[in-house]
């Protein structure tokens, strides 16, 4: 078995990192996004739930959260686009000894979006649910004790994927405010960077005795547009929601237009603040695309209406599942959209969902899809 070597790209190219249950792949294309090249797999046999290509501060650093079913989790980094990898020794993403906890899986690696003021900050979300912060580009990490010590934590219940902190929303302006989502604890935010509060008001939880509890919601994913950081789009286990006060209150959207309000991912368009995309699945007990058709649903009016987008996506006997981190947009205009299925297909759209093409097939089950534009 030969290693795949480095990703071969030039400035302006698009990189789509595809984390699977058996390793990491990279799909690359120029800005036209019509002809794609697949490289990989790196980390053969390991689950890749988290990946990022950090292009801030003059670096081109791949960060990968890999989990071996036998040997546990590791965070690897590469500064030469995958030709060589470094694993910190000893491990630097670990719980302090006094917590008695151990990282089971790295679910998220998120470079801070404020590249001017926080060029070296990287956040990590892990299972059991916890937030870590790196000040050195993902080399070393420290636990966010405010969230770890939250009084709700002993009552958090794991979802089907485990008790995972899967969504991290840093302040795009580099302020202390930030938010996270945890399955199945819900949406939590801090306004001062130290004190965390549950912010799930309005999100229904029909799987709990109290229909709208303070916490315990199974939030699947949250996204937003940087120009409107108070406006959040959220895919819940039951329902799609919008908040205009940074999670202070939530309003359900899409119930009239979507074939199902169950789904995992939600993606905000990088160019149009009122545009977002969801990928409905039939329901809690049949987590496949409805009617055997793979369709992305787009709202261009902030959630008032949704339209189905399926041009180029399989529409016959396509009973597919797309996980929470397996749908992403790139940063170009119009946005490129990319989704990966649990059956190993990757589809991409170069025009904000108007048309789609198959970018890869027969990969292992896709766990995450992350994008970057090479600088």
């Amino acid at each position: 078995m030969s290693e795949p070597g480095a990703i071969e790209v030039s400035a302006g190219d698009v990189v789509v990192l595809v984390g699977t249950s058996k390793g990491l792949f990279a799909l690359t294309a120029d800005a036209g996004r019509t002809t794609w090249t697949t490289t990989g797999p790196w980390f053969r046999g390991e689950e890749i739930y988290a990946a990022a290509l950090d292009t801030r501060n003059g670096r081109t650093r791949l960060l990968v959260g890999a989990t071996s079913g036998h040997w546990g989790p590791s965070v690897y980094r590469s500064d030469d686009l995958g030709a060589t990898w470094v694993e910190p020794e000893p491990d630097t993403l670990r719980f302090p000894e006094e917590t008695g906890a151990a990282v089971d899986r790295v679910w998220q690696l998120k470079p801070a979006p404020d590249s001017a003021n926080q060029p070296d900050v990287v956040y990590a979300g892990v299972e059991p649910a916890a937030l870590f912060r790196s000040e050195d580009g993902g080399v070393t990490f420290s636990l966010d004790r405010g969230l770890w010590d939250h009084e709700h934590r002993p009552q958090w219940q794991p979802g089907g994927g485990g008790l995972c902190l899967h969504t991290i929303i840093p302040d795009p302006a580099g302020g202390p405010r930030m938010a996270v989502a945890i399955s199945a604890a819900g949406f939590y935010r801090t306004l001062d960077g130290r004190t965390w509060e549950a912010a799930n008001s309005g999100i229904k939880a029909p799987f709990l005795p109290e229909p709208t509890p303070e916490f315990g919601q199974c939030v699947h994913k949250v996204d937003f547009h940087p120009s409107q950081p108070d406006t959040l789009f959220l895919q819940h286990h039951w329902g799609v929601y919008r908040s205009d006060d940074y999670g202070g209150t939530w309003t359900e959207i899409g119930a009239d237009d979507l074939p199902s309000t169950f789904g995992f991912p939600i993606v905000a368009d990088p160019n149009r603040p009122e545009t977002a995309y969801v990928l409905p699945l039939e329901g809690d007990f049949f987590r496949c695309t409805p009617d055997g058709r793979l369709r992305v649903y787009r709202t261009a009016d902030g959630g008032k209406t949704f339209e189905a987008l399926g041009n180029g996506l399989p529409q016959d006997n396509a009973y597919l599942t797309v996980l929470r981190d397996a749908f992403a947009a790139d940063a170009l205009d119009p946005a490129g959209l990319y989704l990966g299925t649990r059956t190993g297909d990757v589809f991409g759209s170069p025009d904000a969902g108007e048309s789609w093409q198959e970018l890869a097939r027969h990969l292992p089950p896709v766990l995450c899809v992350k994008t970057a534009v090479v600088r």
Binding site: S68, E87, P90
Partner: protein, 104 residues
């Protein structure tokens, strides 16, 4: 056995599964100086953490638990079937670390 600062120092050979050897410079086995009396599986794994941290982290999590799909044998016996990490490693016995037959 010899003495190291007043503590007995034992030599223990640890055999590594093939997939672990890349984290030990390609070696199939390593010889450790273990300063404990009696020598236990825990003391052997602690010694391995010090000399080969990339191997050690793959055998136990940061809370000290042997990973679920890792088997540590003392001679022919799995430590899980004995006294866990408190299992005594007799003088001259060898330790083997193997991945469990599991996975998907």
């Amino acid at each position: 056995m010899r003495e190291d600062g007043g503590r007995p120092l034992s030599k223990v050979v640890v055999h590594l599964a093939a997939t672990l050897r890349q984290h030990a410079g390609g070696e199939a086995s390593v010889e450790l100086d273990v300063a404990a009396e009696p020598v236990t599986v825990r003391a052997v794994l602690d010694a391995l953490d010090r000399t080969h941290p990339s191997v050690g982290r793959r055998l136990r999590d940061e809370a000290g638990a042997v990973r679920r799909h890792v088997n540590v044998f003392v001679g022919q016996d799995n430590q899980r079937d004995l006294d866990g990490v408190d299992t005594v490693v007799p003088d001259g016995a060898e330790v083997s670390v193997m991945p469990a037959v599991s996975g998907g």
